[in-house]
Symmetry: C2
Subunit: 321 residues, 2 copies
C-alpha cells in the first residue's frame, strides 16, 4: 500500500525556495496562478519580501525580438553576477493554456544555469488577473534571492502594456518594417516606455523607425524634470548595443532613485495590485449572487431592451452591499 506524500505547505515551499530549490519556486508560482486560498497564503508569506529585486518590463509587437533581447540581457546580467528570473506573461487563454512556449526555445542557452529562472505566467483563476499575479510572483522570486526580474509580455494590447508598465523600468522593443512607430503610439506604449530599443538596427528602415520614435518623444508633453525616454539601437541576436541598453536602464534607475520615483512607482504598482484583488473579490460576489443567476437574469432583460444597463448594474450592486 502506498500513501501519497503530503503536499508541502506554502511556508515549507518558501523555505525550500529560499534555499535555491527550483521545484519549490515553480510550485509557489503555480499556486499564485491557480488562485484561491493557497494564493492568499503565498501572498501573505511573500509580502515582507518586497523591494529587493529590480524589475524590468519588456514589451513589443510579436516578432520584434523580445526573446532574443531577453536572452542577451540575461547573459549580460549573469556576467555581472546577478541572479535573474524571467516571467513570460501570456494573455490568459483557456485554449492555449501555458503550452505555447515556441520562442522560449531561444532561452535554452540558460537552461542549465542555476542563476537563471524562466517561467511562463498566466492568471487563470487568479483574483485580479495579471495585475495582481505578477507582483506576487515577483515577490516570491525576490524572496528566493533573485536580483533582477524581467517581465516579458507577448502582446502589445492594453493588458500586456499594463503589466509591463508596472515594472521599475519598462523597455519597449521596436523593429523596422513591423508597422512603424505610429503603431506603437496606437497601442498606447509610447507613454509607458522608459527606454525604447530599436532592434534589428542593421536592417533597412531602422533609421526611419529611430527617427520616428524620437519625433514622437519630442512631440509628447512632459512636465519639467520628467524622464525623457531613451532610444537605443541594438542587434540583439549579435549582442550589439546591449551595453547601451543596460546603461540606459541604469541611468533610468538612478534617475528614479534620485527623484523618489522608484518608491512612487512601486506604490502605484501595489495600488494596482490591491485594487485588482478587491475588484476580483467583488466580481466573484456579483457572479455568485443568487447562485449566479442574478447577472444572467439582468443581462437577459438588457439584451431584450427591457432594462438599461446602468439600472441593471445598480440592481446588481444592491445585492453585494
Amino acid at each position: 500500500m502506498t500513501t501519497a506524500r503530503p503536499a508541502r505547505s506554502p511556508a515549507e515551499l518558501f523555505a525550500a525556495a529560499s534555499g535555491g530549490d527550483r521545484t519549490s519556486k515553480a510550485r509557489l508560482l503555480s499556486l499564485i496562478e491557480r488562485g484561491g486560498e493557497d494564493a492568499r497564503e503565498v501572498g501573505r508569506l511573500a509580502a515582507p519580501l518586497a523591494g529587493d529585486a529590480y524589475t524590468i518590463g519588456l514589451t513589443g509587437a510579436p516578432g520584434a525580438g523580445k526573446s532574443t533581447l531577453t536572452s542577451a540581457l540575461i547573459t549580460h546580467l549573469r556576467q555581472q553576477g546577478e541572479e535573474v528570473a524571467v516571467l513570460a506573461v501570456d494573455p490568459s487563454s483557456p485554449f492555449t493554456g501555458g503550452a505555447i512556449l515556441g520562442d522560449r526555445v531561444r532561452m535554452q542557452d540558460h537552461a542549465t544555469d542555476p542563476g537563471v529562472y524562466i517561467r511562463s505566467m498566466s492568471s487563470r483563476g487568479h483574483l485580479g488577473g495579471l495585475s495582481a499575479a505578477t507582483p506576487q510572483a515577483v515577490r516570491v522570486l525576490e524572496g528566493a534571492g533573485c536580483d533582477v526580474v524581467l517581465v516579458e509580455t507577448v502582446g502589445v494590447g492594453q493588458a500586456e502594456v499594463e503589466v509591463a508598465s508596472l515594472a521599475d523600468t519598462t523597455l519597449v522593443l521596436l523593429a523596422p518594417g513591423m508597422g512603424d512607430a505610429v503603431q506603437a503610439v496606437k497601442a498606447g506604449i509610447l507613454e509607458i516606455a522608459d527606454v525604447f530599443v530599436v532592434n534589428k538596427a542593421d536592417r533597412d528602415g531602422a533609421d526611419n523607425t529611430y527617427r520616428d520614435i524620437q519625433g514622437m518623444i519630442g512631440l509628447a508633453e512632459r512636465k519639467a524634470g520628467e524622464w525623457r525616454p531613451q532610444v537605443i539601437r541594438a542587434v540583439a541576436v549579435r549582442g550589439e548595443g546591449l551595453d547601451d541598453v543596460v546603461a540606459a536602464i541604469e541611468k533610468h534607475r538612478r534617475w528614479m532613485e534620485e527623484h523618489g520615483e522608484l518608491r512612487a512607482r512601486r506604490e502605484r504598482r501595489a495600488a494596482a495590485e490591491v485594487e485588482a484583488i478587491a475588484l476580483g473579490v467583488l466580481r466573484e460576489r456579483m457572479g455568485t449572487l443568487r447562485g449566479g443567476a442574478a447577472l444572467a437574469a439582468l443581462a437577459a432583460r438588457v439584451a431584450a431592451g427591457e432594462l438599461d444597463p446602468y439600472a441593471a448594474a445598480d440592481d446588481l450592486l444592491k445585492g453585494i452591499e
Copy 2:
C-alpha cells in the same frame, strides 16, 4: 451681446439622430465616451433600441489589412442596400487621444456616402471601459437606423479581443509573414474567431498560414454541434474573396439563429456590459474612499512589505460595504 446656444439634451439628440443627423449621432457617441451622468442618460434612452442591427467584430495584428477589409466590406454591404456603421475601437491612451486616424484614410472612399458612418471610439472616462461603451454605441447606431455595425479593433491584446468577441460574428484577420498562426494562438484569438480571413492570399506564405490555422482549428476541442470556424482566403485590396467572406458571415449568422446562439451571445454581451459598469462604479467608490487616500495608504504599506495585498484588499472592501 451673444448667448451660447443651449446644449441639446440626449433625448433631443436621439430624435435628431434617428432622422439621420450625423452631428447628433457623433454627439451621442461623444457623451458615451466621456461617461458620467450624460452617458447614463444616453444608456437609458438607447436601451429599448437593442437588437436590430447585426454586429461584426474585426480584429487582427497591425498590418494585416483590417482597414482595407473593412472598406471592402462596406462597399459590399452598401451594394446590398444596408446602412453601415464602423466603430474603430482604439485602446484608451491618454497620450494619443483619438487623433491617430492614419489608416482611416482608406475609409475616405465612403466619406460622402450618407449610408456609411465611421467613428473612432475610446473609453476614457467611461465607467466599465470599452466593454460597456461599445455595446452602448452599437445601440445608439441601431436606434439611428443602422443595419450592420462593424467593430474594428486596432490591437490583438486581450482588451481588443474581448471587445471584438462581443460581436454577433467575429472575424479574425491574418496575413502571411506577419508572425504566423502560432502568434494568433498566443494572442488568444483562436477561440474567439468565428471566421478567419487569410488576407493578402496572393503573397508567399499564404498557403502556410492557411494550413497552419486549419491545423490549429482541427486540434481545438469542440463540443458536438459546436460551430467550426471558417477559414477564407482574400485579397481585400482587390476585393477578391469578399463574396466568400460575406457568405461565411451569413452562414455563421444562420447557424447562430438556428441554435439559439445569437440570443445567448447577446445576453453574454449584456452581462459583460452590466458587470463592467458595476465594477466601474465599485472602482470609483474605492478610489474616492477617504478622499482617495485609502488606497494610496494601503498601497504604501504593501510596497513597504508591512501588509499583504489580500489583507489590504479586504480593508479597502470594508470601506465600500
